[in-house]
Amino acid sequence: MRRLDDTTAAKVAEAIDYERFLQGSSAVSRVLTLVIVADETTQADAVRAAAEAAREHPSRILVAIPRPGRGPARLDAEVMVGGADGLGELAELRLRGPLAHHVASVVLPLLVPDAPVVVWWPGQSPEVPAEDPVGRLAQRRITDAAASARPLKTLETRCRGYQDGDTDLAWTRLTPWRALLAANLDQPHDPISGGTVSVQKGNPSGTLLAAWLQMRLGVPVDLKASKGPGITSVALHTARGDITISRPDGGVALISRPGMPVAEAALHRRTTDGLIAEELRRLDPDEVYGETLDAVHHYLADPPASQPAARSSKSLASRALTPAASASASAKATKPAKPAKRTAAKPAAKKTAATKKTAAAKKSAKPATKPTTRSGARKAAR
């Protein structure tokens, strides 16, 4: 490990190269650069998770810790290469004073040449990750709605600010749930008429899951508050009874299907390094996530909630906001249950519809990118 006080990006790059040289390996296979933008409270856990994930994806990890405040601009760095834990290259960068607002300028010269860049905000994240100066350097931008102070609010922000390449750990956490649900529907079953997701209050993953199910199945999916931890159960209603996956303790899922013995399966709450490793496995846009966020947008506007009080006030407000959105959502809700066969043309058609309706809501349609028009529409409506 090497400490560099009051340094520059070029010197940090030199230090990484030198440390690598000292390790005796001049060519290390780094498949990507992972930039972590964190504060002092979140960085330690994030680094640990990233180092664990780096065993699968050898990477250069740059941890940028902005420390704004009075005093002169100053960059302090700690560089670590190799090490017993199989870590590739790690540079912790502390950006003090005015430099705290120019993270990208420090990170840019340190990126591995011609390799993908992933940025991860383990704590607070920018409203539109793709427009953040560091986010702009990256192919893939990882946020975590659950780590924010108001997760559901943050999820809404995600919907508005989504651009290809965005991903959120609230979505990644769902993979085992989605896999188990999909595996259950691989088996013969009766038509599904609706669903219920029970989830700890304020958990953004639950909303994502409900919106995803509603979008894919074409039936209304309710959200129900539970004590947690995380998502505690998902029920899909059929004429002969529910297909239910319940996970009361965050470890083992009980699966019951009409006419079948109750079965159990491992369904653990996931650790951060597993989430990051999953994220690093794919660096292309996650279209399904993008569509699910679209669906969340509609879902939050008009949830098929079981609490009627909450529903009426909320949906009234949102109906005024985006009339087209709620209309399409309720139209969907009344549709008979049938497996939604998706063709390549369908999502595209939906997108144009979305643009149209936001444009209509805004009245003064201005040519801009998709997410900005959407957020613009929101602001205008407010």
Partner: protein, 513 residues
């Protein structure tokens, strides 16, 4: 309730773009014959647990053991528990174990015992009811091939080999797939009588290794390798599988089998096929096999088998700092055994792409270190604008695919030695795949078991490939059988002198891997 066969494509939750979702096997059970064996304890049962721990087994999965032991279900569960604890790759979680444990059954009996198989049949039917396995069962024959016939006939007699209502029955067998062409055909006939060929899964755990599949990615997903992947640029290819250990406690299995049958017939010829095959139309099981079979059918043997092959037996010596005994002194091996522990052959592939390019295959026990690799050695540059002394240290360019350990790719090329003089020397450039021991890079057996349960066959060799392998090897084995005792080589070295001579005659040398 099953009115028609349900295909996953109708599942609205599945989307080809949704690459995060793993495929989880449908309801099923795995019946293992020979649960007391080494393989079952060290590889199979831990792999089953690892799959369960990764959430890839279906809820209600059942594991049935069959062996000639007087055990109850709990006794077998204890055996599984111990093997999982000692050999599983992922951490031990009590709740996962408890769940797996509920589906564990044991059936005691002999392979000739009708009653035991009737009992097995009942057990399996009971699992359909209690665990909801829905009539889907895979039979893993982790037993010596001489019992295959008995077991499949018993499965047929007790009605276990057939299913109704779109449920499946599969049988899994391990290498060796026979000991020559005739016995391989016989074996295939025995199993084919009872199970259709689409239900027979031949496990070659080497094909489950990530790097073997990576070889296909390396060749066919890139532009920079394929143009030079032919006789115009390639001088020769070396495929090596070296072990540093001896035969250990496997004398009974190994004596009479030998290195060529054990390794060359399957692993090395498969590697050769993957390295030499033309681009398949697609990566579907059928298309890849088709290309592999074409290459294997084009393999030709050296005219003079004495000059084009080499074999040896390890003698006492020092292996990595330990004194070790020779093969003939091993317990259970006859002092006059002619079984080879080292085998090397020079093959050619009679196609336009590979005309005149020898493929050197070698394998052995108690060699310098444990390594499996495929090295493509390129021709020297046709003209070197340097003086002869400048390039004295320059060898041939090589591309090495390391299969194990330390999976990755090495490229070897010439580079200038720093300094004022012009001097070119070989350097290596390395790429290592990530750590092979993380949760996410599946151990070969896990992947193969999951593929069996999913019914996904691309990694499994078909009997045509097996038979082609024997067609290549049989003349060599027959020739060796007439030649008596193999040459001795000192343990811890890279094999017998005849193997070095074999390459020296061609003006080449073995790589030191």
């Amino acid at each position: 309730m099953r009115t028609r066969i349900w295909t996953p494509t109708e599942n609205p939750l599945r989307d080809p773009r949704d690459r995060r979702l793993p495929r989880i096997a449908g309801p099923c059970s795995l019946v293992i014959f020979g649960v007391t064996g080494d393989l079952a304890r060290k590889k199979l049962m831990p792999a089953v647990y690892d799959l369960a721990n990764r959430g890839l087994l279906p809820p209600g999965f059942a594991l049935v053991g069959f062996a000639r032991r007087d055990w109850a279900d709990q006794d077998f569960a204890q055996i599984v528990h111990d093997s999982v604890r000692d050999h599983a790759r992922t951490e031990f979680r009590e709740e996962v174990w408890q769940e797996l444990c509920k589906g564990i059954r044991f059936v005691a009996g002999d392979f000739a015992d009708d009653q035991a198989f009737d009992h097995l049949s009942e057990t399996v039917r009971d699992l359909d009811r209690v665990r909801g396995t829905q009539g889907n069962h895979a039979f893993y024959l982790s037993i010596p091939p001489k019992f295959f016939g008995d077991v499949v006939q018993q499965l047929k007699r007790s009605g276990l080999s057939v299913s109704e209502d779109g449920a499946w029955r599969r049988v899994v067998i391990e290498k060796p797939f026979g000991h020559d062409l005739e016995s391989a055909r016989e074996l295939n006939h025995t199993i084919g009588e009872v199970f259709p060929s689409g239900s027979v899964f031949r496990i070659d755990h080497y094909l489950g290794k990530e790097t073997v599949q990576n070889l296909l990615a390396l060749r066919f997903a890139n532009t920079m390798f394929e143009p030079i992947w032919n006789a115009n640029y390639v001088d020769h290819v070396q495929i090596t599988m070296a072990e540093d250990i001896g035969i250990g406690g496997r004398a009974g299995y190994y004596d009479g089998i030998g290195a060529a049958r054990d390794v060359i017939q399957n692993h090395l010829l498969q590697l050769l096929a993957l390295a030499a095959m033309e681009e398949p139309l697609s990566f579907s099981a059928k298309d890849v096999r088709l290309e592999k079979e074409k290459v294997l059918a084009a393999v030709t043997l050296p005219k003079d088998l004495d000059l084009g092959t080499a074999r040896g037996q390890y003698a006492a010596g020092w292996q990595g700092g330990q004194p070790v005994i020779g093969f003939l002194e091993e317990e259970g091996i006859s002092p006059t055994s002619t079984t080879e522990t080292y085998a090397a052959v020079r093959l050619e592939v009679d196609t336009r792409r590979w005309a005149g390019v020898p493929f050197y295959l070698r394998t052995g026990k108690r060699l310098g270190r444990r390594v499996t690799e495929l090295a493509v050695v390129f021709k020297r540059a046709p003209h070197l604008p340097f003086s002869a002394t400048d390039t004295e240290e320059l060898g041939q360019n090589a591309l090495v695919v390391r299969v194990q350990p330390d999976e990755g790719v090495t490229m070897r090329f010439g580079s200038k030695v720093p300094g004022t003089q012009m001097e070119v020397r070989d350097v290596n450039m390395d790429f290592a795949y990530g750590d092979a021991f993380t949760e996410h890079s599946p151990e070969a057996y896990e992947r193969l078991i999951l593929d069996v349960l999913l019914g996904d066959p691309p990694l499994f060799p078909r009997h045509e490939e097996v038979e082609l392998g024997w067609t290549v090897l049989d003349p060599i084995l027959a020739h060796w059988a007439e030649r008596g005792q193999p040459e001795q080589y000192e343990s811890g070295t890279w094999g017998p002198q005849s193997a070095f001579d074999m390459l020296a005659r061609d003006g080449r040398t073995w790589r030191r891997p």
